[in-house]
Amino acid sequence: MPNPPPGLSERDFTTALGRIEEVVGREWLFTSDEDVALYRDAYSPLWGEDQERFASAAVAPISVEEIQAIVRIANEYRLPLYPISTGRNLTYGGSAPVYSGSVVLDLKRMNRILEVNERDKTCLVEPGVSYFDMYRHLRTNGIRLWIDTADPGWGGLVGNSLDRGGGYTGMDFRDHFDAHCGMEVVLPTGELVRTGMGANPQSKTWQLFKYGMGPWVDGIFSQSNFGIVTKMGFWLMEEPEAALQVSVSVPRRRDVVRLVDVLHSLMCEHTIPSQTTVGSPVMNGSADPELVRLRTSGGAADADWDRYAQAQGRPFWNASFVYYGARKVIAAQWEHTKDRLAGIAGVQFRETASYTFPLSDEQVEAVPDKARLGIPSLNLFGSRNAPGATPSEGHLDFSPMIPPRGEELIALADVTGKIYGDLGLTPSFVGGLMFHARTMICFHAVPTYRNAADNRRTRQLFETLVRSCADNGWTIYRIHAHFQPLGMQMYGFNDGALHRLHETLKDAIDPNGIVSAGRYDIWPRHLRRDRA
């Protein structure tokens, strides 16, 4: 029998697990060390250290009724539960609980695609449905609708949406929480709630109209611990006639100001429909000593950078995006884009891929940039990228959000580059990704390891990046479980009023504090003293 969660007697823990086993059956309650170890955070920045978060057990229900029964038992014993959907939120904490000793409520078995409505272009799914599952379902059944997938296709629609992840296709779809429409939630008391129009059992518009009547509460179930989402509706994108992937490059460092201004304007007027990535072939080039010096200087002059770029023979910035729709419309959008950007001296335009749908299986296999067509893959998850390379072991996503302005992107590169340099490290990727309508996210991966010494350095780097970026107004939008208290500190207006509101809601909705204690630093009342 595993160790009980803190504060729970061994007798109560054993009794509670015994009753849970009666609900789900012996096969789906995991208590052995080797089974529970499968719920560790595979990319943990605390791997093997005392602070690493561990589950005490895991349970995998198959139905809403089983979840309700488990939640009621948990309330009786104040047994902490930690729900996961596909459990693949790697880089942000994976399947490990925030509060050590919690029992993981693994919803992977609840993997039904309950409805795909081709006419309305919507779906309703359970938490265990992965992007691969959904893509396979649509393709196998000849349904000409697209999902918008996160980079790793092993994630799921529900979990990624609830952590407010993103993808690459149309504006209505790539902000995954914004693309949802309607939820079913088991509250921490065990009561079942449907949001929006789903609160009318006869409703024909649950997946069509988000708000229903009264306060729209869906947002409180994202990045939180106020309930266990058991169904979620999503809007799906109609397969277009065609797609054209293009790139635009500009030669000088300061050109990014005009480039981003125009791209943002084109996105706001709906000429560019897709996520747009602005990266630097120069700053992300091979790390020679001169590049490292420029990157870590904290603000090298534009003239120095431009001389370096010219010597490298590379354009300083490159933007990549996709048009979806009828061929005639795409041609007009592309021409209009070129007209708008023509004023930048030395700008170059390139068509990188063109598609007519539907694609054959062979064509799908051959698409290099799959997520931009809503095709799930794991193509970004290789360990080695060269012969003899040391394999990577994991990473955290560092994801500050900036205004869509080129000068902010330059400033962020200067600030983060200096942080890396001061710690004796080579700076990471520089780029701005316009997932959302009015911001850029400047993702980069911070490596994690299976040894404490390297992870200590990673944690120091990550914390410095978070604080420095927040000081500059570039707050992160999502963060690994270990750093959630730090992340919430950056949202500290009026002595942490927002955080106090979160915990006020927690007390009202989850009085026994049984669901995901500590997630996004929201703690139940009885654990707040320990945290301090």
Partner: protein, 138 residues
């Protein structure tokens, strides 16, 4: 296993899923007060009526091929192993002659490098047995 055979197994797997999509609703879903036009339950153990090896092929397609197909496209795991072995061993797991049940179990349950371990709700012990039958040649 020939490419043709593998392709046939993949087709069968998709066919099994397609059949599942139109199957009768389970009792648990029938209380839903909204129309359910389609449903699927892609089980942790893909159900095929074939041999253990054929079921292992379905498990491989479901859980491993997104990284470990023969590639080089869409196979980051194969690419990584190509860099690791540099020709000393085949990079694609389906071409390996030296895999043992212990090795397959080790990587599935403990992971390696960026490959995370798989939980039993994803790839259960019966799936692991089938996968082993598919990948272990000797």
């Amino acid at each position: 296993m020939s490419r043709h055979r593998r392709s046939e197994l993949r087709s069968r797997f998709f066919l099994a899923i397609a059949i599942a999509h139109v199957a009768t609703l389970p009792a648990a879903a029938q209380d839903a007060p909204f129309p359910i036009a389609a449903w699927s339950r892609t089980t942790a153990a893909p159900e095929t009526t074939g041999s253990l090896e054929e079921r292992g092929a379905a498990v491989f397609n479901n859980w491993c091929s997104a990284c470990h197909s023969r590639g080089p496209q869409n196979a980051p795991g194969t690419t990584s192993l190509q860099f690791k072995y540099q020709g000393a061993l085949p990079a694609a797991l389906e071409d390996r002659e030296d895999l043992t049940p212990e090795l397959v179990a080790l990587y599935v349950r403990e992971g390696i490098a960026t490959m995370p371990f798989l939980r039993k709700t994803e790839l259960g012990d019966a799936d692991l047995e089938a996968l082993t039958a598919y990948l272990v040649k000797n």
